[in-house]
Amino acid sequence: MRASLFIACFNDTFFPQTGRAVVRLLRRLGVEIAFDERQTCCGQMHANSGYRPEAWHQAERFLRLYAEADHVVIPSTSCTAMIREQYPALFTSFGSESQKRELAALLPRVFELSEFLIDKLGSEDVGAYFPHRVAYHASCHGLRALHLGNRPHRLLAKVRGLELVAIPNAERCCGFGGTFAVKNAEVSSAMLTAKLQDVLSTRAEICTSLDNSCLMHIGGALHRQYAGMAVMHLAEILACTETSLAEAAP
């Protein structure tokens, strides 16, 4: 099995350990992994902020780079949702007929990480070991755009040593929303406070998610408040084994 990793621009810049964990994890599962260094960004920020021509350039770039890929794996729910939900409309507005056909052919081969593990590789037990109490934060895009359902929970349930605890009101947004967190910073903070109450009530050591943008938000507040809870992308947990501990484990 071969897969091309689309890392996402903010993972590349701010959370490279997530990308390294994906490489480690997928190699362990026998996947031959490629990384096209021409990749930059999926265009989500531009699309969601109303800058469609800029987003279109990124969409077109994505298609150009991955049209021939066997599988594309993305450790970000919101970037995967951007590609799956918004690219078709962008290609309808700006693309040619042949590009539209190429996109339609590519989309079924684009996977969010947990989708790739469970739906494509069929592995719930990825052989991970992580002896910590962990709370799973379901990102909005994972929940309502990708409909990941219990895939992340099934993966975590098979991690040796891991104690999974549920976050109350799990379906509620953390208040990040991209530029929303700056444009409506106070409302965003109020939403984050509510989310932190629920997250902290779990008394977990780690809050994990399939999206580092939520974790940047939640983790930023946990750090500010000396809350004593860390955040880690789910890939980093799954990459851990008895002999190979997480780079960022507590």
Partner: protein
Amino acid sequence: MSGPILDPRYALPFAEAALPVLRNAQLRKNVAHAMDTIQAKRARLVAEKSDWQALRDSASAIRGHVLENLPGYLEQFEARCAAQGGIVHWAADAAEARAIALRILVEEKADSVVKVKSMTTAEIQLNADLERHGIAVFETDLAEIILQLGHEEPSHIVVPALHVNRSQIREIFAREMGLPHLSDEPRALAEAARIFLRRKFLSSPAAISGANFLIAETGAVAVVESEGNGRMCLTLPKTLITIAGIEKVLPRFGDLEVFLQLLARSATGERMNPYTSLWTGVTPGDGPQRFHIILLDNGRSSILARPGERQTLKCIRCAACMNACPVYRQTGGHAYGSVYPGPIGAILTPQLMGMQYARSLPFASTLCGACYEVCPVKINIPQVLVELRAEIVAQQEQSIGGILERLVMRFTGYLFRDERRFRAAQAVLRLFARLVTKRDGWIHALPAMGAKWTQTRDLVGPPPQSFRMWWQDNEASKMTKER
């Protein structure tokens, strides 16, 4: 102190209008409590419908079909309603609708009017206009009475007084109804309202209502409500004026089967709303003897002309979207500066105002999708929000913030178009980040717009080695060696 302004022409931008609300502990508690209660009831009743998703599909298809064929259905409704003795008026905008209503009331020599709870009349600011012309207006929905007597603004489209506490209601009723010894028991408050209202019902020569549905097939009008006060208004006065948006029409009487199941469950978490009133024109000797219906455009046909946003008009005003919205949950309705708050308000208000006002509203969302998930007519609100954002950006706002944002977005777009530029930008970012990153690797304070982030959260600093640098150093070179 001035209260909230629910007129998009004068309201503050959402982020500013939200500030006082975020500090209002009572309002925050009331909103969260009301949302939890309604959502729990809704979830229970939705779960018992095995065909819920099929109902949503039907409702969405019917409303979509109506919007594709609106002129024909409106003309059919007009003909059937007129044939049954109804008098049909058309109003292009709010001012025309108000003028028609006023003219009818003046002709009827009505010096007072009772009202059924109606969003459409709130949208056109009817009450203030009638009162300016010497007509006393009495709201009859319990929550609307509280707001009217207390000079409060609605903060929700179904439960508009949720921000007012029981003790405040007691205070308002005691003062306005002359009942100094009134207790704050719900029973006593309801009884006071009942006595107050009976006099109005029996003495008012005219009533004004909105409409939940207009039936093209029969010319019937439907109003759903919980208290029965609407039924009083719809049956006792001699003259009835109904003001309805042109999008409210349904093709057939049988379509109500779908919508009545969805509406009550979505709006109040009930299997069936307690009162459903249906009438067709005028029935001699029974109910109002003169029935006028004003069909209001007020920006709706311009929404209809936008293919991407047209679905906005599918809305049946159930408020499920605001009940589910994590933004509304924190701010309540007043921050939206419109009688239509929440996710539906964020897409409806700017469009009704011709995209000239309420331009902060499409950005007052994290695009979390909770609204779309619960919407009984499947309006893809996040998608419409994004469409509206693109339109607002295209307007090229000439404020400093607007110009700066365009520069940043265009420039980042330029950077993302080439991997060498992107790699260079990452390097520059790391360089600048070093100036603000503390020894623990975290940024505690950012300058300029970044301060909006660091006012409540830290930001992890970018590590010295990006993923692509790591790949280049460890993997790419390895592969070359292997070759």
